[in-house]
Symmetry: C2
Subunit: 240 residues, 2 copies
């Protein structure tokens, strides 16, 4: 915890795609399932890396507001249409391409996620703060049995993280000051944006975010209030 002393937060906000759930192995497996052996030579791992990269580029470039919203599903879908031909995949049907884009709504919790959240929930209010669509987070959470007290997403704010609007919305909705809330993520840009607004921060290392051979920044940093190796470690450090 920080130099300000061991003042516990009242609520925890969690990133979903990558932090609470594993997208890489799910989306790779879905690509192989849906292409059903028609493209045995395709580098689906590289494909998913590129797809996720296109998603980040689109979110950075997005000029949106609450009345002019771009769904993340449409972002993934548009990027898929561009990427498939690049990887030589030209024979997926419309239904198969839609099914593949919806793989991002079938992400699975990391093995520590549900037991960790269950312990944390005994003491703290738990909510998502995700850039994914509300519908996607609701579906992922129902499928995975993640016991959130509330679902907050960028769509509700009309802006994507790391826009301050998104974090401030969560504080308003929880009726808490930023200092009473801890942002939990495996992505440093996300928790640094929250920290700049006075939120507490927990970094959770997810070395497998891009698969066994992916490159991920998992270095602990003194700037964060907590550095944890998973949600069970986070629960330990938060006294649950």
């Amino acid at each position: 915890m920080t130099d300000q002393g061991p003042i516990a937060p009242k609520a925890l906000l969690f990133d979903v795609q990558g932090t609470a759930t594993d997208f890489h192995s799910v989306v790779c497996a879905e690509a192989e399932r849906i292409s059903a052996g028609r493209h045995p030579g395709v580098d689906w791992v590289g494909f998913v890396d590129r797809w996720r990269g296109e998603y980040f580029s689109a979110l950075r470039a997005a000029t949106v507001d609450r009345d002019n919203w771009t769904t993340v599903h449409s972002v993934y879908r548009d990027a898929l249409e561009r990427l498939l031909p690049e990887f030589g995949v030209t024979d997926l049907t419309e239904a198969e391409r839609e099914d593949l884009a919806l793989a991002w709504q079938r992400l699975v919790p990391w093995p520590d996620t549900v037991p960790g959240l269950t312990r944390l929930k005994t003491r703290y209010t738990l909510a998502t703060l995700s850039n994914a669509d509300v519908a996607a987070v609701v579906r992922i959470s129902r499928r995975g049995g993640m016991p959130w007290d509330a679902i907050f997403t960028a769509e509700m704010a009309g802006a994507f993280k790391p826009d301050p609007i998104v974090y401030r919305m969560a504080a308003t909705y929880l009726g808490l000051a930023p200092s009473e809330i801890m942002m939990v993520a495996s992505h440093k840009y996300d928790i640094r944006a929250a920290a700049a607004l006075g939120f507490r921060t927990a970094f959770v290392a997810r070395p497998l975010e891009f698969g066994a051979y992916g490159t991920v920044d998992v270095a602990y940093e003194d700037e964060f209030d907590i550095n944890a190796c998973d949600f069970l470690d986070l629960a330990d450090q938060l006294g649950c």
Copy 2:
């Protein structure tokens, strides 16, 4: 179910104050606790009825949007300041008056609510659609153990029910058509507003909403897709 046949909804939206939770006995008991025998003659039942009436008047009169939001807590608090002197209660401290207004964030589920929701959750996505503040619904739900998949409230829409904006927001966030969603409430104005937009409807009778001697419209109506005596009856009728 309706003449359109037994097409099941995919998601259920629930009113909270009165439908999923009992406010009357909670707020009456809290008024007695906080006034601690200093006002044995006060008609707290009548007081709570008037307080709830003032809340409805304030919501009808509110001209709000997402950037100019009136919290429901402030509505209850302002009405309390007006009503206490009318009932001859002039000696509650500032802290006691705040504590009393926060009684609306300590509502308890009706006895059938949690077991009914638990059965319904096996098949349907469950969310609130409440005029109460997000923070209030989160607190009430955590205290009561209500297993919502999502919390949606008027505050997120920038308008109060029965404004169509509120119901449409929930459909957008769920990624569903109105016909795939059922609005559940004990207040007919609420489900009629949803029905006008194409939502399915379930009326749940709550004869004790205003206490044992209160006047409540609990008559079943053919216009609703379902009429139920409680959430267990609703689960039966929805095949859970």
